[in-house]
Symmetry: C2
Subunit: 225 residues, 2 copies
DNA sequence: CATTATTTTTAGACATGCCTAAAAATTTAA
DNA sequence: TTAAATTTTTAGGCATGTCTAAAAATAATG
């Protein structure tokens, strides 16, 4: 198995993320946006990955991963999430500081290294943002009964089990407002005109969260209020 | 400070190693041998590094590092050695297994990461092969009174304080013969015709070591026999 | 010191991964 | 359902880092 370039690995990872969300073919422009490149570059790379049998690609119709492509993508995600866990748990990084470094570390090529790291961290199931860490065979345990905060019912108490790690600004915002993993939130009211939501944490004063925030937080139901 | 490519970093590191040994200008062919490239590639890169003011380069006369080039080289070596220490001390790698992975990890670009790692490892002074680890300001504490085993006096007892990490085969050989850091060796006899040496470890039977071995082991004097 | 031998540089190529601009295909909407 | 808008691909370029082959400079030797 010849090893892939960092670029190729990034493409596979992003295709995996995008098709996970949409459950269908991934568009050229969609990828270009995530990878900060131009559509023409995407086309070039998809042709190359297609020749390598890592993606199924049909001109003008987008692409999806082959089994082998998905296997590789999952291993990259495994590395990314284990390194993030290492940075937070062992080196005391803040959860908003780990993403960029993990983007570099995820390309280090050594199965022994990553399996040793997994053991060293005691086989963590979730990374610092609450995302599941694939095991060495590529199995991913998704948290059942996880919904987005934006979809949580009014007058319910929920617990934060996941935050979207993509935006540094969001993570800083959440940190600042004590919206960390494990925090319990009471959903008080929703405002359809701007999709914002009023919540309360413990006995702190009520706050309003924008759609941008609530759609990027994963929660699980705890109880009715 | 724009960041350098992996390739550029490797060039700086090797120039540092080579000029450390010879104390003078580094030749194109010398670099080519260490970097597994052709001389013409070296010339190209030296011209580039020269423009970036990281090396002093004169056509046909070889090169040496500028202050800035040396500063960068030392930081790469710091990263390499800290990662090796991490792999051995925390992830239980053997000393012969760490080199290739560290060659990858040394290019990860994050000052916070490497300084955190340094703290996590408790500011180690030497890596698993006995080489000194530069501190964050680039200071390197060379072990005074360290000589090569090949130069040790007959009828003296010495302690292994350093082994050359470059050869995987050598490291495996040393491991197999219990020639690890801290081991005390009695130097019994030298054979000028092939530069081999007879030694004894504790009360084990006497062994003969080739030049290839003794010139790649660093020792310090313990006592007369 | 003149002539080989060696080292180093130049010249020209190639693969990767990206770009812009223009053409082609697809989708949207009047 | 056909014209306009959007998406995607092609064509041609560019920088990086490497190579081979040939030329030039330096070093070694009789």
């Amino acid at each position: 198995m010849k090893s892939l370039s960092h670029s190729e690995e990034n493409y596979l990872k992003e295709i995996f993320h995008l098709s996970g969300l949409t459950e269908k073919r991934v568009s050229t422009n969609g990828l270009a946006a995530r990878l900060n490149t131009k559509a023409s570059s995407i086309t070039d790379m998809l042709q190359k990955l297609s020749e390598k049998k890592l993606v199924e690609y049909v001109k003008y119709k987008g692409c999806f991963l082959t089994e082998e492509g998905e296997r590789i993508a999952i291993q990259i995600i495994r590395k990314h999430r284990l390194w993030e866990t290492f940075l937070v748990n062992k080196l005391s990084f803040g959860w908003e500081e780990v993403h960029d470094v993990a983007e570099q570390l995820e390309h280090i090529d050594s199965t022994k290294l990553i399996d040793s790291l997994d053991r060293f961290l005691n086989y963590p199931k979730f990374d610092p943002h609450g995302d599941p860490i694939p095991d060495k065979d590529g199995n991913i345990v998704y948290r059942k009964s996880k919904i987005k905060l934006i979809d949580a019912a009014i007058n319910s108490r929920v617990e934060i089990v996941r935050v979207n790690e993509d935006s540094l600004a969001l993570l800083k915002f959440l940190e600042r407002h004590h919206l960390t993993l494990g925090t319990e939130i009471d959903v008080l009211e929703k405002f359809p005109f701007d999709d914002s939501m009023s919540i309360r944490i413990g006995d702190q004063p009520e706050t309003n969260l924008s759609k941008k925030v609530t759609e990027n937080i994963g929660v699980k139901f705890i109880s009715k209020l």
